[in-house]
Symmetry: C2
Subunit: 336 residues, 2 copies
């Protein structure tokens, strides 16, 4: 049986990367003349034709990874997920993979879209974002043994030791622990925490980092909770300061909360009050507020490492591959 | 010759949308039982099998549109392009199309990627963003008669009357004209403009809206220029205020410039000084600064309308189709 030559065959025979073969086909001007001629000769020799759908049918690989893009919801911190998608696109491109976006408004719709794309051979794997307790998406993918990785841990008891599926996440507790240690050194011992109402995995992790650090230092301070909303956060902190709360710093679960706290501190003439955010968005950068940087680029690289394995050229279904079933990225405090 | 049945054949025979057929295949639980049974009967009747690559080979259509995603550059206003991509993904999904992302660091690399995807049949059309004077990407696509639309006008003499290609853009001059009229009514006659150095199409348009509105009212006021950078904008405005500049309001070419102007005004105790931004990003929303909203959702809908035409189901190569070759979206001032 004679198989049609692939771009990999051309690259191997010419001793160049897939990318260079593609450049010769599509942007010959940016390839050195000698290389171009060598690659072109191999293409002619092998009779390579670049139609992708034919290759997909033959290999049953689309070299494409799907990712769901939420409807734009506004807010300060949406930029973190967008940075993740930017980074995925770049890292995937370096590995000869593409990113396909799909829209869905509910987990059920997202399952329908993923099924359609995976069954149709349009994507080889998918990346699920924003996992939560009892997430039906990861359960469905796991039950069908479809290749995927989640940005967000499974939020079960065995997340780290025996995770239910491949996942990558940011260590939120490590982030707020770093914020709290910084505040202890820079501002004083009375470090309040401004977070979301208990019950969200992400929010509880961020609260834990502050709480355990304070406990380790034998300290206690108020913990305030509020929804993710600048004016609401501003009101909570303004009320606390007006009521005489004695705090040296406020560690926050997000940049929206930090901006609210910052505005309340400025309005109360508490220019000494240190505020630390979480997400390091352009908004806190503009205001000069310190914040925890999630490093979405590392998250994206981790997701692709998990999906594609160390060999790196093909996506294989490897749910919970042993020894490398998760990547926990340590975030970095940016002090301003 | 017998052709394999398509999802369109199933949808037509069952009297439902493509989306419903897909839901029956992938998420039967969300489809009403009666509909599910009717669709399933048609699928069985026709012997429909959903492998996409086969359909692509047959139809030479991938039902996929490409869009370039820049490397994440930080900054306040990147969110506008991200909102555009979110909206494209949703609108495309409603039309049964997918969005494929590709990375590129230079226009030449972007041309290579577009060529690869179009030649390989992986995308039917592409969307180019951030056009500029002498853009090699649009020239290359036009010369090869490949289907595309740009977010950003061609920036030539005949943009509107006889555009070189399909484009959609936001009317920047209309936006700053609205800001200027608002400031004249709300603050007073001395409305300064804070913009970028002359020479960028987008920046010059935004300056023009302010200038023409001031001229129409027989007014003049200072125009300051600075690079897109919050601290630089803050310094320019702080210097101007310290030097005794008499202004009632500052209309800005971007939210980054507006945040810089706002911080300078607050630091100089000029709480009366009205500042208006452009892009309506989460950062100015958090700070309570008025701003011009670009309506990226309308831009995305306009781009797909141009590419797909009024019939709406297939991408056809229609460079500069007569009568509907561009969409100019009027932005909306959000007053805070």
């Amino acid at each position: 049986m004679t198989k049609a030559p692939t771009v990999d065959d051309v690259a191997r025979a010419a001793g160049v990367s897939r990318q260079t073969v593609s450049n010769v086909l599509n942007a010959p001007d940016i390839v050195r003349a000698a290389t171009r001629e060598r690659v072109q000769a191999v293409i002619d020799d092998l009779g390579y034709r670049p139609h992708t759908a034919a290759r997909q049918l033959r290999t049953r690989r689309s070299s494409t990874i799907g990712v769901h893009l939420d409807p734009y919801a506004g807010g300060i911190s949406g930029v973190v997920l967008d940075r993740f998608v930017h980074a995925l696109t770049e890292r995937a491109s370096e590995r000869g993979m593409r990113m396909l976006l799909y829209a869905a408004r509910t987990p059920e719709e997202e399952i329908a879209r993923m099924g359609e794309l995976l069954d149709g051979g349009e994507i080889d794997a998918t990346i699920v974002t924003g996992t939560f307790h009892g997430d039906p998406r990861t359960g469905w993918l796991t039950a069908r043994a479809l290749p995927f990785v989640s940005f967000g841990r499974p939020w079960g008891e065995d997340d780290v030791a025996a995770p239910a599926h491949l996942w990558v996440d940011v260590d939120g507790a490590a982030g707020t622990a770093a914020s709290t240690r910084h505040a202890l050194g820079a501002a004083g011992p009375r470090i309040a925490f401004l977070g979301w109402p208990a019950g969200s995995g992400t929010g509880d992790e961020r609260e834990r980092g502050w709480r355990e650090t304070m406990t380790a230092h034998g300290l206690a301070a108020p913990r305030w909770t509020v929804e993710e909303h600048v004016p609401a956060a501003r009101a909570v902190v303004a009320d606390a300061l007006a009521a005489g709360a004695e705090v040296d710093a406020i560690v926050c679960a997000s940049d929206s909360l930090a901006i609210g706290a910052h505005l309340a501190a400025v309005a109360a003439d508490r220019h000494d009050l240190l505020v630390v955010g979480f997400d390091n968005t352009p908004a806190v950068e503009a205001l000069g507020i310190s914040s925890v940087e999630q490093l979405p680029e590392k998250v994206a690289a981790g997701a692709l490492d998990l999906l594609m394995g160390p060999t790196g050229s093909v996506v294989a279904p490897r749910p919970a591959a042993s020894g490398s079933a998760h990547v926990l990225v340590e975030p970095r405090l940016i002090v301003r």
